[in-house]
Subunit: 243 residues, 2 copies
């Protein structure tokens, strides 16, 4: 493979409900066939209106108990529980949840940062569909086929710090499977299956910055192939050794 | 931040014990001040001679038991156990270990792929020192200060597929800490600390390929700062919720 270029698409404007993401992107960046467009899932949540109003959240008894145990605000805990299928770990200051999508992520992805006062952003309920809608709208405006990844910031087991991962994918297979391929000595590469969509999301994060207003990053040179969804990246329960 | 460029450094030659990595790199690529040089840890293991000879490995009773339980070869299990501090999970076909460095990784990083018949590559015993040696040798040859990351391929809890992570770091701080910084509304970003060295390793993997002979990738435009080590990326036991 030749070189990869990673371009931040700047724009300090606030993304708001109902805005046209494809129009925003194409007004600022000239896409080429085969580009990978990585969009912050929070930006998509704002554009699609996936926000919770804090004044509408009434903490349940369970949310209050969770607040007591973790030191978080009870209203915030109520939001986190609404977005969770189950709680994987909790500790003072920490709630690690499995979302309804199957993602294991701190606070079920509920986040007040870079949101208006009184609002929480939640993950899009169907991030693969959101990615596909953006991809279709970009194709309509530009005539170019691109891949779209929705990314969010995840902690990891056993390691310090967070990395961006793919929560929505359209226009590419998120996994690059070497099973059955040969190494340089002709022996089969048994276990290698790379999570390209996650690596692309991480690469994009490097030019993003957290308060900089870079909701979109374009990666050129990767040449996405096939099709698939971010659901392919969620370990099925029967194969999950860390449930 | 402006754009990032990610360059594969091709070279199908076999890396062998005692070879001069800095000479190999500078003969093939013109480094600039502030580049990040990502080197495959397996290539470093070959160059530094961190290989196990299968004929010298005598499986212990424990290695034979592990082989029975997982379906792996007893000699391979002996190698895995020698490189492990403890076993985190095992299942048919799977041994997830904590290495002496503290990394949680399948088979303790012991790997026969792209090795000569009869050999296993192991992780460098001190990957941060290896990274620092390569960095110093590159500075001596070029007069340029670069960062060096040793990368290896890791599976993850809860997600399908693998990504490359940093196992050795020199010439940069591996974490970008936003704690205490403000979001766009002036509120503190409490929990965000990005694992840049891991994201750089993942980004580099995208241009590498597993059988292609791309032991080195150069990332330009990131501007590494500070200092630190890959040990900073290992969750300390007292903060580890997944021990």
């Amino acid at each position: 493979m030749e070189k990869l270029d990673i371009f931040p698409v700047h724009g300090a404007e606030e993304w708001t409900a109902g805005m046209d993401l494809a129009a925003w992107i194409t007004a600022r960046f000239s896409l080429e066939e085969g580009d990978v467009v990585v969009v912050s899932s929070k930006a998509v949540s704002k554009a699609e209106g996936h926000m919770l109003q804090q004044e509408e959240l009434v903490p349940s008894a369970f949310a209050k108990e969770l607040a007591d145990r973790t030191g978080h605000d009870p209203v915030y805990c109520e939001a986190v529980l609404r977005e969770s299928r189950d709680i994987v770990r909790m500790a003072p200051g920490v709630i690690i949840c499995r979302t309804r999508h199957g993602f294991v992520v701190a606070n079920a992805g509920v986040d007040a940062s870079n949101c208006r006062e009184g609002e929480y952003a939640i993950l899009p309920p169907n991030p693969d569909s959101s990615a596909a809608r953006i991809r279709d709208a970009l194709a309509e405006r530009t005539g170019k086929q691109v891949a779209v990844i929705l990314s969010d910031t995840f902690g990891r087991a056993w390691r310090v710090g967070q990395t961006d991962l793919a929560v929505g994918v359209a226009g590419m297979t998120p996994l690059r499977n070497y099973r059955g391929c040969a190494d340089r000595y002709g022996r089969e590469l048994y276990w290698t299956c790379l999570a390209d969509a996650d690596e692309l999301a991480s690469a994009a994060e490097l030019v993003r910055g957290k308060a900089d207003g870079v909701p979109v990053v374009v990666i050129r040179g990767y040449c996405p192939q096939g099709s698939g969804s971010a659901a392919d990246l969620v370990m099925p329960p029967e194969r999950d050794l860390f449930r």
